[in-house]
Amino acid sequence: MAEAGLTKPLATEGRAVRPVRLLRNATSKVASIPMIATVLVIFIGCSLWTVVYSFTDSKLLPRERWVGLDQYERLWTTDRWLVSIGNLAVFGLLSMVFSLVIGFALAAMLDRKIRFENAFRTIILYPFALSFIVTGLVWQWILNPDFGVQKVVRDLGWTSFTFDPLYTDSIVIYGILIAALWQGTGLVMCLMLAGIRGIDEDIWKASRVEGIGVWKTYVVIIIPMIRPVIVTAVVIIASGIVKVYDLVVAQTSGGPGNSSQMPALYVMDKMFLSQNLAQGFAASTMMLVTVAIVLIPWAYLEFGGKSRG
């Protein structure tokens, strides 16, 4: 490849002495050792290790006493895990839908060649720069029943107004959702905006000629055209949802009771607090399976057709 551009005979000659090239690329291979080690030892090795040890009865330390699917059986009969999965499903579905809808709506508004576009974008995206811990703590404070939103509305005259998500079992997940959306929608907006800006201006001219309204154009014409961006956004949001951990720790620590538990909290608790390693491995394997279900079809669509990435 490097010799392309020279005369033809030379190029073929270059192909003929390929073995020497192997030696020359040795530097490249040596330089890639950290990456190769990371891929083989961490991403492949450690993941497989966890999956394998999820079939043991390891408690405090990992040991090779095989118990088949016992850990999984126990996992799926544990209330706390079932609550976590239910929460993840509700939280995941809502945050996916709202992230995409709000993200797209904001992107469409910013796309209207408005003034102060940069200022608006800066304000909407800044939460994304903050850590989940900071986000969780701020929203914990804003949703505080004695000083926050509930008190403000009560002071305005509605004395029986109740909005206390972080201390109410049945709606605690929405309190977390509010914080998660506040932090994450800016990113989705940016992705969508980049996608919308990548569309040919002629589309707009055509839709104007056809007499299609602005909002209808966005929904009917633009959304199908930015499908790749939306798919990317879906994958990013989904992998973020499965991982959600810090936010819940900061906002509610899984409480009140177990009502805002998430799979990641369950895993951490079993592995590092209650010394039930294999149970944690089984739970984290389930997380891996969840991600794989989302990821494999996407990777297949995205990279399956072409061998060069």
Binding site: P34, I42, M109, I114, F120, F147, W182, T232, A233, A250
Partner: protein
């Protein structure tokens, strides 16, 4: 012809106060206010005294501005037995950040360069797995990595003892956390650098090869000077990422060397003592200050960084 079509073409002439405009800007201003609100709440709460907080609500502006909460959050707030405030966590985070930043960017830039310009058998496979690795939930790898770090420490201890030095410990120390950050920063950074180096004109590389430059020669003399903007993007990405990390800090360090986010969570969510909301918010704001500063200074580069993760390579 031109002046006849001048009206309908080009940007639509809009009056500043047409109804659609009012709706559009009105919505945007409300949205922006909503997004800005928590920052405002953090600031005003951190400047109030506790009696004032008990009287008002989270949104009321401070009547009497006090910086006491900031001082307390920084230098005397307690986590467990340590009562030297967030400053401890801040310096821990700095000590974690700098080596992680240098190591991860150094390794990833070389990775990206090798993947873009010096492909070898299997390089595309390793790259593909690296990208998929970014999506594996960290929880799957957390425990085995503890074992890897312990073994790494033991292995290095053997070497260092042979050389006449003391024992080496990786797990539970700052160096262990640096290794972990380097590992998990690798997918996104490698993608960033690979895409950038692939986008450079190939003639440049070819010319250098003809002149007899090798792997490192081309990297240091040609690629590095041209890649400065992308290094800045990588730094922004890593500084915010590492500073905001909580999970790895909790698992791979001990209370004395907890990073700032972990310490912040311990201060605010501690169950003992009276809740001092103003100190809590000052501490929260202090922790958010580093990434916020980076964000507001870097502007478009930050957006470029996060978009790099999204746009496929």
């Amino acid at each position: 012809m031109a002046d006849l079509t001048a009206g309908p073409r080009g940007p639509k002439p809009r009056r500043a106060f047409s109804t659609p405009n009012i709706v559009l800007y009105g919505t945007l201003i409300i949205v922006a206010a909503y997004y800005a609100l928590p920052l405002y709440v953090m600031i005003v709460t951190s400047l109030k005294t506790m009696p004032e907080i008990r009287l008002g609500n989270v949104f009321s502006p401070p009547i009497e501005i006090t910086f006491e909460p900031w001082v307390k959050a920084w230098s005397t707030a307690c986590t467990g037995i340590n009562c030297d405030g967030l400053s401890r966590g801040f310096w821990n985070s700095v000590q974690i950040l700098i080596p992680s930043l240098i190591l991860s960017i150094a390794i990833s830039s070389v990775n990206g360069y090798a993947l873009a310009n010096w492909k070898y058998r299997g390089s595309e496979f390793f790259f593909a797995v690296l990208m998929l690795g970014a999506f594996i939930p960290y929880q799957v790898m957390l425990y085995p990595i503890v074992l890897v770090l312990k073994n790494l420490g033991d292995g290095l201890t053997v070497i260092s003892n042979v050389l006449g030095f003391g024992d080496v410990q990786i797990y539970g120390t700052l160096s262990g956390l640096v290794v972990v950050h380097t590992i998990f920063g690798m997918p996104i950074l490698t993608l960033l650098f690979r895409n950038y180096f692939s986008s450079l004109p190939e003639e440049l590389f070819k010319a250098a090869r003809v002149d007899g430059a090798g792997f490192w020669g081309i990297f240091f003399k040609i690629m590095l000077p041209m890649a400065l903007p992308i290094f800045v993007v990588a730094m922004i990405l890593q500084v915010t990422g590492i500073w905001n990390d909580f999970l790895f800090g909790v698992i791979y360090t001990k209370p004395d060397i907890y990073p700032m986010t972990v310490q912040l969570n311990n201060i605010v969510n501690s169950v003992q003592g009276v809740k001092e909301y103003n100190v809590n918010m000052a501490a929260t704001l202090l922790t958010g200050l580093v990434p916020l500063t980076i964000y507001f200074i870097s502007g478009k580069l930050f957006v470029r960084g996060i978009a790099a993760g999204a746009v496929k390579g």
